[in-house]
Symmetry: C2
Subunit: 376 residues, 2 copies
Amino acid sequence: MAPFLESQQMKVNGETEKCRVTVVGSGNWGSVAAKLIASNTLKLSSFHDEVRMWVFEEVLPSGEKLSEAINKNNENVKYLPGIKLGTNVVADPDLEHAVQDANMLVFVTPHQFMEGICRRLVGMIREDAQAISLIKGMEVKMEGPCMISSLITEQLGINCCVLMGANIANEIAVEKFSEATVGYREIRDIAEKWVQLFSTPYFMVSAVQDVEGVELCGTLKNVVAIAAGIVDGLEMGNNTKAAIMRIGLREMKAFSKLLFSSVKDSTFFESCGVADLITTCLGGRNRKCAEAFARNGGKRSFDELEAEMLQGQKLQGVSTAKEVYEVLSHRGWLELFPLFTIVHEISIGRRPPSAIVEFSELKPKFSILESAAQFY
Amino acid sequence: MAPFLESQQMKVNGETEKCRVTVVGSGNWGSVAAKLIASNTLKLSSFHDEVRMWVFEEVLPSGEKLSEAINKNNENVKYLPGIKLGTNVVADPDLEHAVQDANMLVFVTPHQFMEGICRRLVGMIREDAQAISLIKGMEVKMEGPCMISSLITEQLGINCCVLMGANIANEIAVEKFSEATVGYREIRDIAEKWVQLFSTPYFMVSAVQDVEGVELCGTLKNVVAIAAGIVDGLEMGNNTKAAIMRIGLREMKAFSKLLFSSVKDSTFFESCGVADLITTCLGGRNRKCAEAFARNGGKRSFDELEAEMLQGQKLQGVSTAKEVYEVLSHRGWLELFPLFTIVHEISIGRRPPSAIVEFSELKPKFSILESAAQFY
């Protein structure tokens, strides 16, 4: 792993080498990320203008290949229609080719593809490459969460930051004001480079030294969104919804800190924390399906509602709630996380939706692990 | 000031004296507070059953006096119709008489009445009395905020806690789940007494040692609600709204900490902080009027909209924004609080509503006060 600092950039023929960026992924959010980045590489002299974007090739109904359509129209006609990406974005359907010259790799694919992508990239990337993951929704396994940033570092032997926040791709695409948080591990200069690459007047990015905290926010918020949707479905009002969101934020913080002692409270005040939670609990598919679930009195399963309402998209909150529940149960922490626990129990039909506000369930029982009180 | 601890309660004829509670105020929130308290004094042996409630006397259209109507119907027919308060709530139109036997005083009146009430109560209350203020919206004067809790302590010579939170009175009245935060100065046992007095299965109360932080949250959130309403009026979407709410929470925290070094970050994770902010920015009259203001492109003044939309209620966010602006301007802090600053400038027509998201304005300029960075 060879970290680069601005002052330590590799020199070729006596000249400082410019950074080359490749975006690995070209869905809705990946395309918006490419647009943000491409607007900056044109302006910043320390970056090559060209931004390469790896496209998982598809054939469009017209018979045209997606990558060719993107390059011809300068627009991702399938996943971000109507938005020009910048003429310096080059779609490339060949993964290995797309990454080979880049020293800044932006990963933004569905999380279930990352293991396969990493396997393909071993030995194919520059040794001095830096990575950032925009992927929300890593898995929480019994032995702890399987962080995408760790996967990238372990598989590819490169440093990996994360970028999370209240980021509805389509709103950023039309340049509505928004924020995001970069989480970095050690080297502030690298985080600053990513901040520079993503920041625009309508997209404000800050960096915090807390990869795990930032990355966990992006996943755990979906569990809280299920709870918020249930409150909406039961028409309990804004007061109750705000209370449930607050308790959810507290459990996100406590869970993250119990798993990683390096996680900081202040991270939860950043865009990746409270702001992303608000966005996700106001709109978002997890909230929406949970609202429908509660309106039906829990009689129609989440699987059924997901199939009906999401046109093939997956409902991460329910599966994350299940994974979190397994960790809590395995470690004997269920009573410390009454909201996370209830969300899972409601989602599998063991409790009715109205249990979401049962008082006795919502006061963490520190007696089972006294040291846990400090995490609240 | 003679604080009582549970273990140190005054003994009369060898018996521990029970606590007597009086609620000073009988508006919408005051009536709900009396209902909550009355349900607990019946259950808890350390309290007298009776809860006295001072009523600012009015004559109802029927010709009946409000206090008599409350006592006859066991219901505040004017300010909380349809809700039974508990038969142990006794309305009393005589302020001095209402407080004379109480050793726990709950203040819940419009804030502009508190100076007059305190003047009337000097020398009329028990020396060992404890107070709590539920009053949101103290004034922020040039020399700093004029805290209601300080006013009570200074004028009456008694200790004063505060209770704030995401508390829409009508939702709590119908027993929808909600939370609140008690802020206390020194003695944890007194805070616990208040927690006991207010807590019900649908109203969860926690205590934090931070009177100023809790009290400032209750006022400053209204400035953020104006900003959130402007974002709604401009139809900028949930992403932008969440970002503005987050920046607002950050400025609430930084402003409170700059004014009172005792203020704690963790207070802003409590119900009085993030949850009350969410409730106020989702519903609430400040948000609503600001939305209308932005929809009209700032062409109709807040005064005009307030008169039209609020039926005599006052819009606290705009006046608080003005007061905060004066403090910021006086201390040379304007550039540290770009959101608070812009809200005021928009509200007086100096800037257009769209300025709410102008990037260059939203990055605090720490260079003017380097030590301020630690408060963010």
